[in-house]
Symmetry: C2
Subunit: 576 residues, 2 copies
């Protein structure tokens, strides 16, 4: 950026490109509303006040201008959209900058998956600053495409692919001084290191902080959040599609609006249905204000504070020298709407739509991902009972949670095989390794998932994102898995040999080539098909996607079999 070339316009001696006239704007530095004209040239705010000439003027008629919203933590892949589709969806909602952690695609496609995300994020009306994933794989129990170690992280940070360290989820590894974990922390020392430390407190939290980690987005109650704030962490108030902490944490900001300088509001994981219903950061703002948070304090958590936290000193406020990322709204209350959005001084969205059509296509090659996997036949999925007295270990689903419990139950024995049993709430589960094409699979059982017939299968299965399936009969399961392989990844609902619904996720097995509206429609079709299988669990797909995540308690199933996070480690299907 040639700032020197802007001086004549700044001094008012040459016309600027764009002039917002009769504007009110939010000043996050002084926490007040100001009035004044705002002059822009070459995408940079060059002045505020009277007496500017411009090639183009926007009469704001007293409407409010806000700095573009900055998303401090999200996973693009969770939206089922590519960066292009996501940008098209959130740009009209006022988001102009996103700090994504690409650890999902890093699991399925490795380092080249991250570079792919970086490439696909260029030239969009939203700036993406990627964190280098710090935990690929989530644990040794999972099989990602490749492990990402400190050396790769150094390269990603050095060559500009990534700008900070992504969420450090391995808090036991940090606290206990795991060498590989600390090599990653050391690789990012001096940069921003983002955290993920649910329920960590006291001495464990202090140990975690020694790693240089400076934020957390896993707080679910005021007490936890306050301790982390007190110990110097930035608090990321998460309002995701399912992990929703905003109403629990907003009271902190109500009681003490000054906390807005230490709080960000973030999405973590959101999906098209959620976005079209609630919005993005604009929705978070409405909710914060509805909770009683002072509007400018709420606004700071998605503008200046994330800019400060991530050391983006070129944005986060409407001030001379900053990028002209500007959001026009009717007002700033619990019902406000984004009217227009300018990115680097260019009008990019109006009335909920981007001005330029952004197709959901992928523009570059994604190396590493084939989506192919040898999936097991119905016969291979059968579980033979060797000892009729033996109990089976079962994953116990806890409603609306991603944590589970470990259950021991007698199997339902049909012809010498342990089978799913709707009456007992027992489904069979399978995980098929697909990232390395080994076709290795493991079978287990899950209680409380909610299916009564058929099967659901998904290539979205945290964190390694192998093919995961839950079903009531082996035929449905093998059909769902086979279809999953055929379409190169996605979510499939099958009833016997029949495919009831599916969403294709060919981009790394995680992302579709759909727009937000198309994605929503597909997800609704999947929900309807799930309903048709008698499954009342509206979080079924999300819960299934977490049943192989080997770092969230208690019992999980990966392609290597059962894993008990609470200390037992690898566990057999049958209780010995």
């Amino acid at each position: 950026m040639n700032f020197k070339a802007l001086l004549k316009s700044a001094r008012g001696e040459e016309p600027c490109d764009l002039l917002f006239k009769n504007a009110a704007f939010a000043n996050l530095c002084t926490m007040e509303y100001e009035r004044g004209d705002i002059a822009v040239k070459d995408g940079i705010i060059i002045g505020i006040g009277e007496g500017y000439e411009a090639k183009e003027s926007v009469d704001c008629e007293g409407r409010l201008l806000l700095p573009g919203f900055i998303e401090g933590h999200m996973h693009v892949e969770s939206t089922f959209m590519t960066p292009r589709s996501l940008a098209a969806a959130i740009s009209p909602l006022g988001t102009t900058t996103v700090m994504p952690d690409p650890h999902e695609i890093a699991n399925t496609c490795g380092v080249e998956g991250i570079r792919f995300m970086r490439r696909e994020s260029d030239g969009l009306p939203v700036d993406f600053f990627y964190g280098a994933p710090s935990c690929v794989p989530a644990s040794a129990q999972e099989t990602p495409f490749e492990e990402i170690e400190a050396e790769e992280i150094k390269k990603l940070l050095a060559d500009g692919t990534c700008a900070h360290l992504g969420e450090m989820m391995n808090f036991p590894g940090v606290c206990l001084g795991d060498d590989k974990v600390w090599a990653k922390l050391d690789a990012a020392r001096g940069l921003v290191i983002t955290g993920h430390a649910p329920r960590l407190k006291g001495k464990e939290l202090a140990a975690y902080l020694l790693g240089g980690i400076s934020s957390d987005h896993e707080c679910s109650c005021e007490e936890e959040a306050l301790e982390k704030l007190r110990r110097g962490m930035y608090l990321m108030i998460r309002q995701g599609a399912t992990a929703r902490n905003l109403s629990a944490l907003a009271p902190l900001l109500v009681k003490n609006p000054a906390f807005a300088t230490r709080c960000l509001t973030v999405s973590d994981d959101i999906n098209p249905i959620f976005m079209l219903r609630r919005g993005h950061l604009d929705g978070c703002l409405r909710e914060l204000i509805e909770c009683g948070v002072e509007p400018l304090a709420a606004l700071r958590t998605v503008t200046l504070t994330p800019a400060e936290y991530f050391r983006l000193d070129d944005r986060g406020m409407i001030a001379p020298g900053k990028i002209a990322d500007i959001v026009m709204t009717d007002t700033l209350d619990e019902k406000f709407r984004v009217l227009k959005v300018w990115k680097r001084g260019k009008l990019v969205a109006e009335d909920g739509r981007t001005l330029e059509k952004i197709t959901p296509a992928v523009l570059s090659a994604l190396p590493g991902y084939s989506g192919e996997a040898r999936t097991p036949t119905a016969e291979e999925l059968r579980v033979k009972i060797e000892n009729p007295e033996a109990m089976i270990n079962v994953i116990g689903v806890i409603p609306e949670q991603v944590v589970t419990e470990t259950l021991q139950m007698p199997p339902t024995n049909i012809g010498g095989f342990a089978c799913a049993d709707a009456e007992r709430g027992l489904a069979k589960m399978a995980v098929v390794e697909k990232n390395r094409g080994t076709g290795r699979f493991a079978v287990g059982f899950i209680h409380g998932f909610g299916l009564t017939r058929g099967a659901v299968a998904s290539s979205v299965a945290h964190d390694a994102h192998n093919f995961t399936c839950a079903g009531m009969d082996d035929l449905s399961m093998s059909a769902a898995l086979r279809e999953l392989a055929r379409i190169g990844g996605g979510i499939v609902v099958a009833d016997g040999e029949k495919i009831l619904a599916e969403i294709k996720l060919p981009v790394g097995g995680l992302m579709s080539l759909l727009s937000v509206g198309e994605g929503k429609a597909k997800l609704e079709e999947l929900a309807a098909a799930r309903d048709a299988l008698g499954c009342s669990n509206e979080h079924a797909f999300m819960q299934l996607s977490f049943m192989s995540l080997s770092v969230i308690p208690e019992l999980k199933l990966t392609d290597k079999g059962y894993f008990d996070i609470s200390g037992c480690g690898v566990m057999p299907l049958f209780v010995r």
Copy 2:
């Protein structure tokens, strides 16, 4: 720093080095007082709370612990002390980090002078982070030892000698796009660039901000400060020995304590007399609180906010993972006293004294500075009147200010020579080039300086720090200048051939080898001698030191002659 080695102590499994028990402490993240034990190992805070074992404990008995104070902007040279003496003086006052701009020594000794300051600052109980001087020389009218251009600045930033860009005083150069100025700004783009922009506002301020400059310490009224805050700048509230803006700006913090997140309190220029009377940042805190600023808001301006502004994420708060720079006080009110100071977990000062004796010696060589100059004889200082009708241009002193006015007066003609004249308030002035040893000198006149006889001479003469002298007769002036050269720089008061008082400043012509107490005594001797010459102007030495600064309006005298900053440029002694 090996943080991993601290984990066992952080987890409470191994004893830490030092434990503050029964402490109250200021938490700048949540803006509250907390109670709890604070555990330290290897100079790092490793935990807060109960249950730590320690090799050594400090029973705080409920006394208050604060983070070490951070000085956001000062010139070490202005204290007449070396970094060692300064550290010895301010460490017991609670200062643990200083961000000095070494542009004074850079003028007299060049780049090697800066490296000398860096070396002399190592191993002290105060951390010094130097800014790379951005304006050496202050203008082309001055003669420094060498010019410091963008290339040298790049090197200083790259090799760790400097960490940010020092005050950008050349605001016309910034606003008008001067190539050399912008090359310096570009050399520091992305780093912190500190500012100096008195009275700049509106479009000029906006143009200045395009340079990437993010702070200012020259605000003297609320209106100016508020505009700069609104435009995104950090406000440095300056409370120097003579430039004292605290009482004018404190109301901003009284009205809106949230401004504490955008304000620093700094010293800029202070001297031993001031320090022993008022303190350092501890004194600023007392004054802020006396002005009605909420104590924690006041404290933030000298702890967390400077740490945030300068991106020192290892300090500024008492929290796990941060450096154990800790100040113990009796309380935090308008009369509070610093009791003890720990630097990196080591007790370094108690009851106003450093525990370890820090001698005022200089430990390394200072290249480039000779202090030698050929000084003019009394005869050479004479000003012959060629045209008896001609008026002379005269620098008009404005009481207590460093700005001047341009006067035109008839000379006092004694035997065909223009002479000083006590009755008319007219003194003669001379500036002798000493940095390059040319001995070039210029003579002018100054009105309102206050002398009635004798002469004062000084090697502290902003910014080039040539030998500057004001006197009532040529004999006193030549004697004062000769003595100045003999002692290698300093401040001298002479009456005829007799030297009444002097302070030796052999270190670059700017710094003594004295402690703060010795320096105060010498300055008091100088003041007494000045009084003996009938000079009632208590700011005489300071004002003299600014009479050759070619960037502060209006008329100044450098070794090249008169310079009128307000547009006329070089001016002759006699009005033509």
